[in-house]
Symmetry: C2
DNA sequence: GAAAAACATGCAACTTAAGTGCAAATCTAT
DNA sequence: ATAGATTTGCACTTAAGTTGCATGTTTTTC
């Protein structure tokens, strides 16, 4: 029961009711969620609170934002199997142009990229657009 | 004089005054432009017209949209040094977190990426965030 | 070359995601 | 218990993107 509570506390997030619910929501979902998705997942709560909650999660390193080219921000829980959040940790994101869903391919890392002289890399995002396995079967 | 006209015609775009100006604007710029950038570059013209012009350019394969994570669409001319617009052609984009500018690194291609079984790739976007050469010197 | 059709432009209005201000509610620490 | 800090909910704002429609311009047809 207190398992999620522990996770939040470890990230210095006070475990309020909504935060516990949102964490569960994100954990039980296997695709990235927009704020609208999250809002639809809760009957009761207010959009602003959900917005600030996801931003708190993001700031505290619990979720990461994904930009899949649709212009609408999506969010997914960080992969906590790797203890360290190094730059090597950067995985690729896949956006399906049929079902519009976006997933983290956490074990597909971004290969090393060489940059022109003078350029310094701090972060990377590799987005692949195409058709996902589910949509491919149909 | 008719050089730009020829380029537009080749892409089945009628060479109106605004279109010629926007093409020139984009060509003489070495960083990707937002619609606001373009708007600021012209004293006279209307935002909607500029919007539809850039969308026409995009549809006809003259420019490509770049999503650099700022949430604001940017545009840059396609690289016409390579005659073919194949999937191999995909280059990487660099967004400087200091000056907020985004550039096409057209000769830095995206390396081959393997996907899980069933996934089909149609397009890719590799975005690197960091500090550009100009900002690095300061 | 005039008329019709097709396309481009400008203005206003709409849509929607994102973000802010502020007061009420809740939680934490003294 | 009280004071201080944080969280929540509601109203409102912002800004990019987009569409409808009337007018202007170019191209095609006859
Ligand atoms: Mn991810
Ligand atoms: Mn580019
Ligand atoms: Zn799909
Ligand atoms: Zn810079």
């Amino acid at each position: 029961m207190g398992e999620i509570e522990e996770v939040l506390k470890k990230h210095h997030i006070r475990p309020t009711a909504i935060r516990l619910l949102m964490y569960k929501y994100l954990r039980d979902r296997n695709v990235a969620a927009t704020l609208n998705d999250i809002e639809s997942g809760f009957d009761k709560s207010d959009r602003t609170t959900l917005y600030r909650t996801i931003k708190t999660f993001e700031k505290k390193g619990l979720v990461h934002q994904i930009n899949d080219g649709t212009g609408i921000a999506k969010y997914a829980l960080d992969d906590k199997t790797t203890g360290t959040t190094a730059l090597q940790d950067l995985h690729l994101h896949f956006h399906c142009i049929k079902c519009n869903e976006t997933v983290c391919l956490t074990d597909h890392k971004i290969p090393h990229i060489s940059l022109p002289k003078g350029y310094l890399s701090k972060d990377m995002n590799l987005l692949v657009k195409g058709v996902c396995d589910k949509c491919n079967l149909k």
